[in-house]
């Protein structure tokens, strides 16, 4: 080896030969590849030139010449070849040149590698690799990238496309900004314009389901594009763009399409289309809002239509039995709920937005009054009917369970839950006392469900009632034993007594009915028995709830009549007299006019005319006369003569109002006790929230209760701020 320092020019000449050889290889000219010796020599030349002692240390010059080598090659060969080509050919050329360039950089930087290790590192200069790439970027990329982008957008050949796009990414040297700024932005815009054009024509011609199908396909196509040749970072932006153009821009028109839009799809059960709609819109932020905004009013409209139907039907058909239309309404409401809940769970993937829409829609029409009855009452009546021996339709146990479940769900939407409770509580006793054969399990299960929905306080009394009955049966068994052992005391008539605990049951008025003699004896005997069991309880007899089986000896045959105790009392009078006037009956029995009218009506003007009335009109008046109708007969041997129940609605509403006043008072005191000082509006809103589980309190009612509490010295108004209240311990 030479010991003399290598001069720059001489050394460079040697290097130049190597570079030229490399260029020939890159151009595809016949040239044997570099041998390891050649490589070693080139490397060593650089090494020597750099490690020589100054002034023969040529590192700086070599560094510069390295760059110049690229620049020269690019300017003389690469750029001209690119400039003369266009479109796809240009792209192909570019891809080739880029690949070549990378190879060139790799080889040259290997030759010049020693520079990287010391010279460059010491002076923190750009590495050989960076220099090489920068040359390409500054000379080639800068010039052609615009043309490239245009060509790319129209290109079909995916492989080539991927190669070209990789240039954009790699030229960024670690950052994505070249790709994003020079290519992606325009690509997105172009894509956007393309879809915007398509969308505007599709929206005119296609139905909503078809449009959605096409949108789904487009999105899929774009995703494929990304996976095949675009950079993965484009995926979200591309999807967003497409979604924007196809779905967001036309959201309203699409959903509102008259014959195929959201509403008709809901109406016609197009589950698949609705699911697609959900899939498409759920990825767009707030994209589901317009869908929910159609969903909710649609349900509300359907619900309100049902209510209106029921109203119209009841006012038009005077012949249909009272309450039938309302029951139909409840049933239809349940069906409506099932249908739309299915949509929410299946098509809309249980999304909270739709649950909320469903809830709000139901709350609107479930709280409307129908033919003067509140929906709370209708629901209670519905439950009652179901539980009465399976209702008019003789439903199976499972169906009853299911229906009860659904009823309790509907209860969640009604704001006056306490009204439902009261009505239910009023109907329950009648059912419990008169329908012994009805299923106990159902009673208990609906109570459990109600308890879950509305809290224990709601159901505690009702549970008490059910328990009372169980105890009563035991008690009756004991009574019968007692009678057997004291046969002298037997009153001659079979008596079954149900003892109720006052607190659980609604308050019943007990009239001082003048019992027929036979019954009086029964009562005495039972009293005797009861006193053997306990001396500390007082028995109050509620005859209005009793039932009596009487044999009517009519001319044709003996028929057993099942009547209420009051009716029995009336009928038994005719054992002693053939003909009685209204006032005589009244005097004997000691009843009020209202009660007597009802009683006599049920016996003489209703389905079974046990008594014949003079004059034979349809209503009872005070001057009428009554006779035992011996000619009465029926094909059955045993008939039930029903007594129409009193309209308890007014009383129920009164009771509920009273309870509400106490509830509001209690809530206000509770809140003020813990907060000590509170502003008016906050107090009102907290009060409303606390009570919302049972009912929706009227703001004026709350104000009135507050004033009452001020008068009773529970609260006082703050002296400075009249909108603040203070708790007085």
């Amino acid at each position: 080896m030479e010991n003399k320092a290598i001069g720059l020019d001489k050394g460079w000449d040697y290097m130049q030969k190597g570079i030229t050889k490399l260029k020939r290889i890159l151009e595809g000219l016949p040239e044997p590849p570099f041998t390891s010796e050649e490589y070693m020599m080139l490397y060593t030349t650089i090494y020597n030139m750099c490690t020589q002692k100054p002034p023969h240390d040529h590192s700086q010059q070599l560094y510069d010449k390295y760059r110049e080598a690229f620049e020269e090659y690019i300017s003389s060969t690469v750029l001209p070849s690119l400039r003369e080509k266009h479109d796809e050919f240009m792209l192909r050329e570019l891809a080739k040149r880029w690949a070549n360039h990378k190879v060139m950089v790799r080889w040259l930087s290997r030759f010049f590698h020693y520079l990287d290790r010391y010279f460059i590192a010491r002076r923190s200069l750009p590495t050989l690799n960076e220099v090489g790439l920068t040359c390409f970027r500054d000379l080639v990329y800068q010039e052609v990238h615009a043309k490239v982008k245009d060509a790319v957008i129209t290109l079909i050949d995916r492989a080539l496309l991927k190669n070209v796009l990789d240039i954009f990414v790699e030229i960024g040297m670690g950052k994505m900004d070249r790709y994003e700024d020079d290519f992606e932005a325009d690509m997105l815009q172009d894509t956007g314009a393309y879809y915007s054009r398509k969308a505007s024509s599709w929206i005119e011609e296609d139905s909503c389901p078809d449009y959605m199908l096409k949108s789904e396909e487009c999105l899929k196509k774009e995703r494929d594009r990304v996976s095949h040749y675009l950079h993965s970072s484009s995926e979200t932006k591309l999807s967003e763009k497409v979604q924007n153009e196809l779905l967001v821009a036309y959201a309203n028109r699409l959903l509102e399409k008259e014959h195929s839009g959201c509403r008709p799809l809901l109406r016609d059960d197009k589950v698949e289309d609705l699911s697609r709609m959900y899939r498409l819109y759920c990825k767009i932020p707030q994209g589901l809002d317009p869908v929910a905004n159609i969903f909710k009013p649609h349900i509300t409209a359907e619900g309100t239509a049902l209510v209106q139907q029921a109203e119209d039907a009841t006012s038009n058909q005077a012949s249909s039995a009272p309450g039938v239309q309302e029951q139909v309404l409840i049933r239809r409401t349940i069906e409506l709920h099932d249908k739309y809940m299915a949509y929410v769970t299946d098509c809309f993937q249980n999304h909270t937005l739709f649950h909320k829409a469903l809830k709000e829609a139901f709350e609107v029409f479930c709280n409307k009054t129908v033919t003067g009855n509140s929906s709370a009452e209708l629901l209670a009546t519905f439950c009652d009917n179901i539980l009465k021996k399976g209702g008019s339709e003789k439903l199976s146990d499972e169906v009853i369970e299911e229906t009860l479940e659904k009823v309790v769900k509907l209860l969640a939407y009604i704001s006056d839950k306490d009204l439902f409770a009261e009505f239910y509580r009023k109907k329950l006793p009648r059912r419990l006392l008169f329908d012994r054969s009805a299923n106990d399990d159902h009673k208990r299960s609906i109570l459990t469900k109600l308890k879950q929905q509305c809290g224990g306080q709601f159901t505690s009394k009702m549970e008490g009632m059910v328990t009372d009955l169980t105890l009563a049966r035991e008690n009756q068994a004991n009574y019968e034993d007692y009678l057997r052992s004291n046969s002298a005391a037997h009153p001659g008539i079979d008596l079954t007594v149900t003892v109720l605990t006052t607190g659980f049951w609604p308050s019943y008025k007990s009239f001082d009915l003048n019992l027929p003699a036979e019954m009086v004896k029964c009562v005495e005997v039972f009293k005797g028995f009861y006193e053997t069991k306990t001396k500390h309880r007082k028995l109050t007899w509620i005859y209005s709830l009793g039932t009596c089986h009487i044999n009517g000896k009519f001319e044709q045959k003996i028929i057993e009549l099942i009547v209420s105790t009051y009716q029995a009392a009336v009928l038994l009078l005719f054992n002693a007299s053939d003909r009685l006037s209204y006032s005589e009956i009244m005097a004997h029995l000691n009843l009020t006019h209202d009660d007597l009218l009802r009683l006599l009506h049920s016996l003489s003007c209703a389905k079974y005319k046990i008594l014949s009335k003079e004059p034979n009109t349809k209503t009872i008046s005070h001057g009428d006369y009554f006779e035992f109708n011996s000619k009465f007969t029926d094909k059955l041997r045993r008939i039930k003569v029903p007594l129409p129940p009193v309209d308890e609605r007014k009383k129920v509403v009164e009771d509920v109002d009273k309870d509400r006043r106490y509830a509001i008072d209690a809530a206000l005191v509770r809140i003020m006790k813990s907060r000590k000082v509170l502003g008016h509006q906050q107090l009102v809103s907290e009060c409303v929230e606390q009570l919302s589980r049972m009912f929706k309190p009227d703001i004026k009612a709350i104000k009135k209760r507050m004033e009452d509490l001020i008068t009773r010295d529970y609260l006082e108004r703050d002296k400075e701020n009249q909108n603040m209240f203070r708790y007085l311990a």
Binding site: V684, I699, K704, E707, T711, R717, Q722
Partner: protein
């Protein structure tokens, strides 16, 4: 001092040791003021009299000293000054609330019946807020929600007259803590005006 006491005793009921309604009436005629005149109420306020229709010696002393009067004529001359004092905003609210308490005659009484309230309102507030008082009195007489008015409602009405623009009620907000009777009153007025 002595003169004040002597004056007191000249009107007082011997056995009670206080001036009673009869004594007050005499006093009024001596002053040439009607005994239902609002100025008598103002006098009671100045004295901080506790029981309606009666003045104790202490109360008498208090009032007379404050008014710097020891004869009837001096007392009468002091009345215009007293009126001015009461009408001052700082004192008027106190006088207004005092007048309500003064009318609670029974021991545990907390409210005053509608009839009396109407009279009291007219007496105390009439000259200040004629229109509001007249309409409110009309409303009180025809409504049936309330048979008595309590202190909270009484004071509420005063605040109402001061703060709410009349007769448009444009700045009245029923969601605030105004007594319910005023909410109803405003509703009634608005119905009347349409």
């Amino acid at each position: 001092m002595e003169r004040i006491d002597n004056l007191f005793h000249s009107y007082a009921n011997r056995s009670l040791g206080m001036i009673d309604p009869e004594g007050i009436e005499t006093l009024c005629s001596d002053m040439e003021v009607d005994h239902t005149d609002v100025r008598i109420l103002m006098l009671a306020w100045k004295m901080k009299a506790e029981k309606q229709g009666y003045f104790t010696l202490e109360e008498w002393r208090r009032g007379m000293k404050a008014l710097r009067a020891d004869t009837v004529s001096k007392l009468r001359k002091a009345l215009p000054e007293l009126e001015k004092e009461v009408k001052r905003p700082s004192k008027f609210e106190d006088f207004y609330s005092y007048s309500f308490c003064y009318c609670l005659t029974e021991e545990k009484q907390k409210s005053i019946d509608i009839e009396s309230i109407c009279q009291l309102l007219d007496l105390v507030l009439g000259s200040h807020f004629r229109a509001q008082v007249d309409y409110f009195i009309e409303y009180l007489k025809i409504q049936s929600d309330y048979k008595v008015i309590n202190m909270d409602q009484w004071m509420g009405f005063f605040r109402f007259c001061n703060e709410i623009s009349f007769p448009d009620f444009s700045n009245y907000n029923p969601d605030l803590a105004w007594p319910l009777i005023l909410d109803n009153f405003v509703e009634w007025m608005q119905l009347k005006q349409t």
